[in-house]
């Protein structure tokens, strides 16, 4: 168990009553702004002292209001990456990176400057000042700085929220490497289901200061009802696949999954590498016969498991495709026209072009010792 949190806190009109256990590699705290996720992470870091609660990380009690325990932030050995990077403007990138090292007992230092610099690709930036870095570079340096303090737990507070899409795509692979190649457990705050689905092993959904749901990412991503309205379009199903082969002629990669082969735009990954894909429910079409004369390349056969109405106009169709769950969001009109019912054998159609860097995540193998 990496982290367990139980908090009861009031701040003005807002009350936070939340608890969760983070056991996976990367636990995402997911929810709309104002749901309390940042407060929660600040409490784990020791930046905010809750009214009541108990926090334990890596077997060490950091907060126990009943026993009167409150470990100050500088003794928690918990790394934090802030949304706004917060690099020290009066120090070079190199000094920023080395800052936390000063305060880490020699015996507890496991992170090595060269490995971290290599992992994050920040070698060329070392002599620069933070003011001269782009948003994405700053965030990579901030991650490096937190790592080099050799933390027992790494907290990331919406590290991508203030970046544009291109910068996000630049950083995501580094966070994936962090998740897959280091041993530090990560708690990741986000309001974007795209990030959560791509990065998280476990998800805790927060709404208005309460835990609305928690569980494995694949299960949570399918619960469209848990998603805030503006994120609902991004919801769907998650499939764990692996690279079967590449089609160099058409610049595509063919992924193997329990549901069958799935063709996606060419990925930069070797044969056999695990790839996690998220298929947005709105990107899935449902057909009762195997379609012909259709441009979409992926046709997956399956059985309808359930149909759940979502408002008056739309329904969610849950399918089982060879053991893999697949979710489609279609209109009520289409459902009636096709006479879709649970038990029916159908074909789910997914365009290759609906896959992009935002919903295709390559799992990194190997292990990096920092």
């Amino acid at each position: 168990m990496s982290v367990s949190v139980q908090i009861s806190h009031r701040q003005g009109n807002f009350s936070l009553e939340a608890g969760f256990m983070g056991t996976g590699r990367l636990t995402a705290l997911f929810g709309p702004s104002g749901s309390g996720k940042t407060s929660l992470i600040n409490m784990i870091a020791g930046l905010v002292k809750p009214d009541q609660g108990h926090i334990e990380a890596e077997g060490r009690v950091l907060l126990d209001t009943q026993a009167g325990i409150f470990v100050p932030r500088h003794r928690r050995r918990i790394g934090m990456v802030f949304q706004d990077a917060r690099l020290f403007p009066h120090m070079s990138v190199k000094s920023n990176l080395g800052y936390g090292r000063w305060f880490t007992p020699t015996t507890e230092r496991y992170a090595d400057m060269n490995s971290v610099v290599e992992l994050l690709g920040i070698g060329p930036l070392l002599d620069r000042r933070p003011g001269k870095l782009s948003g994405g570079e700053k965030q990579r340096v901030a991650i490096g700085r937190a790592l080099l303090a050799s933390p027992k737990l790494l907290l990331m507070d919406e590290p991508l929220a203030s970046l544009d899409e291109a910068r996000k795509a630049e950083i995501l692979p580094y966070i994936e490497r962090l998740r897959d190649e280091t041993k530090i457990p990560i708690v990741y705050v986000s309001h974007s289901i795209a990030e959560v689905a791509r990065l998280a092993s476990d998800v805790v959904v927060l709404a208005q200061g309460r835990v609305a749901a928690s569980g494995k990412t694949a299960d949570i991503v399918q619960r469209l009802d848990l998603l805030p309205a503006e994120e609902r379009g991004e919801g769907g199903s998650m499939l764990e696949t692996h690279v079967m082969r590449h089609d160099e002629h058409y610049a595509m990669t063919i992924l193997g999954s329990p549901a069958g082969e799935i063709r996606v735009p060419r990925l930069d990954a070797a044969i056999g590498v695990p790839v996690r894909i998220r298929i947005r429910a709105r990107d899935v079409m449902v057909a009762t016969r195997r379609p012909e004369g259709l441009s979409a390349l992926n046709t997956l056969a399956g059985t309808i498991v359930a149909i759940e109405p979502e408002g008056r106009a739309t329904v969610e169709v849950r399918m089982d495709c060879g053991g893999a769950p697949l979710l489609a969001r279609i209109t009520e009109q289409s459902r009636q026209a096709l006479n879709l019912e649970p038990g029916l054998v159908v074909f789910a159609i997914v365009k290759t072009m609906s896959f992009d860097r935002g919903n295709t995540g390559v799992r990194h193998g190997g292990e990096v010792h920092l």
């Binding site: 802030f82 917060r86 000063w102």
Partner: protein, 234 residues
Amino acid sequence: MTWLLDLTPDEWNAVQLSIKVATVAMLFSLPPGILIALLLARGRFWGKGFINGLVHLPLVLPPVVTGYLLLLSFGRNGPAGAFFEHWFGIVFSFRWTGAALACGIMGFPLMVRAIRLSIEGVDRKLEAAAGTLGAHPVLVFATVTLPLTLPGIIAGAILSFAKAMGEFGATITFVSNIPNETQTLPSAIYTLTQVPGGDAGALRLTLISVIISMVALIASEALARRAGKRLDSE
């Protein structure tokens, strides 16, 4: 230009004394200045308004009043004066140390204001970040807050120095106008204007005071800009 340097020994003494007094006043005001500025910028305590008022008092009181109050408290028979003489062997009244004290106190509000503004400008989120990296609050102050406050500290120090160079009322009231002991530049100029034939000397010293003040101001500007450039706001 040579006539400018052709000073009488008394005039030359006044220049040297002024620089000594101003430097000592500035250096000794710095530590309490930073401390009080920090207290006023960050502290939340009862009586903060009173401390703030006390610090600013020399700015609004007539300098003669400040000088007289110093005479009452730091004179040989005053409580503070007796204390310093007994425990540290330091005498203020009618000595150059008294001039430095008067100048330091007159410049203190200016120094505190500059440093306080600068501390209030430091992003506290950076301090929180330093804390999560394992730095004890004292070290956070030394490695993050203080360096980021540096432009304000430099500005405050120079303001205090400049004020000390020009201080007249409180100094002359507290430690009088004794050549070679408490006769600073302004006092010397004042004396020269009171005697027949002193005009040339007064003009010489006036020009010297202008030059010293200008150099100090330009140097502070340059230093603060250099420190500011290093911070290179994000």
